[in-house]
């Protein structure tokens, strides 16, 4: 059979039921094979939309997402999703077309060095050099994307090789001698960690996106509840520990709660699980958690002691390690009352610094209230995607995520335009669930074309644009740190999002009154098909609290 038909067999063997892509010259053979392969292909309007949709699919389902583009511009349009998937450890396989081998290196039409361009932003990549390599490379790509610390894998397939006739034998094993992720976790280290926990008086559990990737939220919750351990999550880890909860401190980091950040600052022991001590978490690194010892659990050994030296490193899969840590800790039979002093300190912060804002006196919708209303309208039970900016932080703050894989955002790369296509992918992966996207009026315009995809394919996402007419987060920084010199942040009054929705075959709505907002949102959620809602909110509202960049947690403002 043709190499591309073998490719279809490989995709099926990997359990792929849907791919997101856009055809072009160099991947014509692949698209010919899709014609009757029986795999759902969703035709996106821009490759970046397809890449983010594959990410959204992967984040919502835990399966490997697949995204396709042709050579040259098709592949370069995928660069942002590839980098995004790398930063947030999302398992996605990107299949790119490449010019015929005889044209390689000649600056042929639509030729780009895809492997070279993407090399710094992939977990691994394969340049197919012989058609017989294709099946094995595909399986190895899926294996690498899915295992260890997940990430993007690019497979670049020259057009002529993909047409070659090859004998196809199903591949049942992978041969990657240089790739053996450690998953087990050293028992001695785990015992040490349990003892450190037992001896600590001011412990904090700090969980990141790794807990979600490892499907270890139940195990994390078990550990938290093994004693009265205070728990906080990064923006990537939200949903890893059920919120709200007595032991839940709220989100950590630049726009996290004061309680969570202060607790880290005063902790004597921090248990980092699937987290990487990003600058948005630590603030000024030299003054980060000065009194704490660190237990660091991560599947990627390179993360351990990268930014903060770990006293007890444990390399492995959280799902495997956490139950053993919980068991070891329980066996020590410690006295929970030793944490009482710590809890009274934490509770004092909670009381003094709750998340809050001043509501409007009239019908104006405060952006924070918009998220609270959305929480109410969805019963807290939706998959919520977001773009990047103020609306993202407000959603993270005010929408309590009770379970993992309900919160899908671009944390590491901070990609504007991520939300709408990611919601599309999440809805395709979880058709029974309500999928909403909280978008910014700036962000949403970066991948709005995918509304057409949603309308054509009947993908019923509900997009709520938090419209303040600004690139809000940049405006906030200019207000706070650059003397209110608002440079190029005003978005003006266009486009008319209701008309945009209409033109794309979606339902458009506009909400401006806070008194009817919950009811209006419920109506939007109940409307069939894709819905795009223009929610007009207070124009100049700031996201607080905030640790100014490069400052320690104690210097939090707002």
């Amino acid at each position: 059979m043709r190499a591309v038909d073998a490719l279809m067999e490989c995709l099926k063997a990997e359990g792929v039921d849907v791919v997101f892509g856009l055809p072009g010259g160099a991947n014509l053979p692949t698209y010919d094979a899709f014609y009757d392969a029986g795999i759902r292909h969703i035709l996106v309007r821009h490759e970046a939309g397809g890449g983010h949709a594959a990410e959204g699919y992967a984040k919502a389902t835990g399966k490997v997402g697949v995204s396709l583009g042709t050579s040259g511009p098709g592949a370069t349009n995928l660069v942002t999703p590839i980098c995004d998937a790398m930063m947030d450890s999302v398992p996605v396989v990107f299949l790119t077309g490449q010019v015929r081998t005889e044209l390689l290196g000649t600056d042929g039409f639509q030729e780009a060095d895809t492997i070279g361009i993407t090399m710094p932003i992939v977990k691994h990549s394969f340049m197919i050099q012989h058609p017989l390599e294709l099946p094995r490379s595909i399986h190895e790509a899926f294996h690498i994307a899915r295992t260890g610390r997940p990430g993007p894998v690019v497979v670049d397939i020259p057009q002529d090789l993909s047409r070659a006739d090859i004998p196809y034998e199903p591949v049942t094993d992978v041969h990657l001698p240089g790739y053996q992720p450690t998953t087990d976790g050293n028992q001695k280290q785990i015992r040490l960690a349990a003892k450190a926990l037992a001896n600590s008086r001011r412990p904090v559990i700090y969980a990141g996106g790794g807990v979600i990737n490892a499907n270890a939220s139940a195990e994390l919750t078990e550990l938290g509840l093994a004693d009265r351990f205070p728990v906080t999550c990064t923006v990537m880890g939200l949903g890893g520990f059920p919120a709200p909860h007595q032991q839940w401190l709220g989100m950590l980091g630049m726009h996290g709660t004061r309680t969570a950040n202060y607790a880290m600052d005063e902790a004597d022991l921090i248990v980092a699980i699937g987290a990487r001590f990003d600058d948005r978490i630590t603030g000024k690194l030299s003054e980060f958690a000065p009194r704490a010892k660190f237990i660091h659990i991560d599947v990627d050994p390179a993360e351990i002691s990268k930014n903060v030296p770990a006293h007890i490193p444990i390399v492995g899969d959280a799902k495997n390690i956490l139950p053993r840590l919980t068991a070891e800790y329980r066996a020590l039979g410690t006295d929970p009352s030793r944490l009482e002093e710590w809890w009274s300190r934490i509770n004092a912060w909670r009381q003094r610094y709750p998340l809050g804002y001043t509501d409007s006196k009239d019908s104006e919708i405060k952006p924070q209230y918009m998220i609270q209303a959305l929480f109410e309208a969805t019963g807290g039970d939706a998959i919520v995607c977001s773009d990047v900016g103020q609306h993202q932080m407000w959603t993270a703050q005010y929408y309590d995520f009770p379970a993992p894989r309900r919160w899908i955002n671009s944390g590491g790369l901070g990609t504007m335009g991520f939300g709408l296509p990611a919601a599309m992918g999440a809805k395709v992966g979880c058709p029974e669930q309500t999928v909403v996207c909280v978008a910014g009026d700036g962000s949403v315009q970066m991948n709005m074309q995918e509304l057409a995809t949603c309308a054509e394919e009947g993908i019923a996402i509900k997009v709520f644009i938090m419209n303040n007419g600004y690139l809000g987060m940049v405006r906030q920084w200019q207000e706070l740190f650059w003397d209110k010199r608002y440079s190029q942040v005003e978005m003006g009054q266009w486009p008319d999002f209701v008309k945009v929705a209409d033109a794309y075959g979606a339902t458009g709505m506009r909400f401006e009154d806070k008194h009817t907002l919950v009811k209006d949102m419920q109506e939007a959620l109940a409307t069939e098909g894709p819905v795009l809602v223009d929610v007009r909110v207070t124009r100049e509202e700031n996201t607080y609290p905030m640790i100014p960049a490069g400052k320690p947690a104690r210097d939090m403002v707002g």
Binding site: G178, P309, W477
Partner: protein, 185 residues
Amino acid sequence: MGEPGTKEVLSLDELEAVAGQRTGRKHILSILVENKPGVLTRIAGLFARRGFNIDTLAVGPTDDDTVSRITLTLDGAVHPIDQVTKQLHKLINVLKIRDLEPRETLARELALFKVSADGASRAEVMQVCEIFRAKIVDVSKRSVIVEITGTYEKVEAFERLVRPFGLIEMARTGEIAISRGRSET
């Protein structure tokens, strides 16, 4: 430092990199990699992107033709070696990395020096060569080419001694290394 949020103009001194864990000595990493296209690019790219500086680099075949050995040296005073090796390990084509212990390692590099040597100085140059067990492999009227093998330090010392005679040019391979004793590197 370098945060978009802070308004103050940065001085160049402030831009100096923040130190991590430094060992302060030269390290020789012996890296076995799959002999596949693009592997060296991946390693070079990783070094560039993470801001690691390679002092010397030598690539060659091993006894197994599917595997190549990359020997590279870098300065432990400048780089967190631990982080360098961990990042290298993440590359799928990297099979094995050894941070060679200096005392248990045999390291050699080959260098060619083209040195001015006319009538008066030729004898002196030859004397230096003899002390270093270097070979003169080419002679012309006014210069000689010297071949020398040895550790990085020996080649450095040789360079210092011949430089005053007039060093016209020099080519060095960078060190290759192997561990002493029976066990594999």
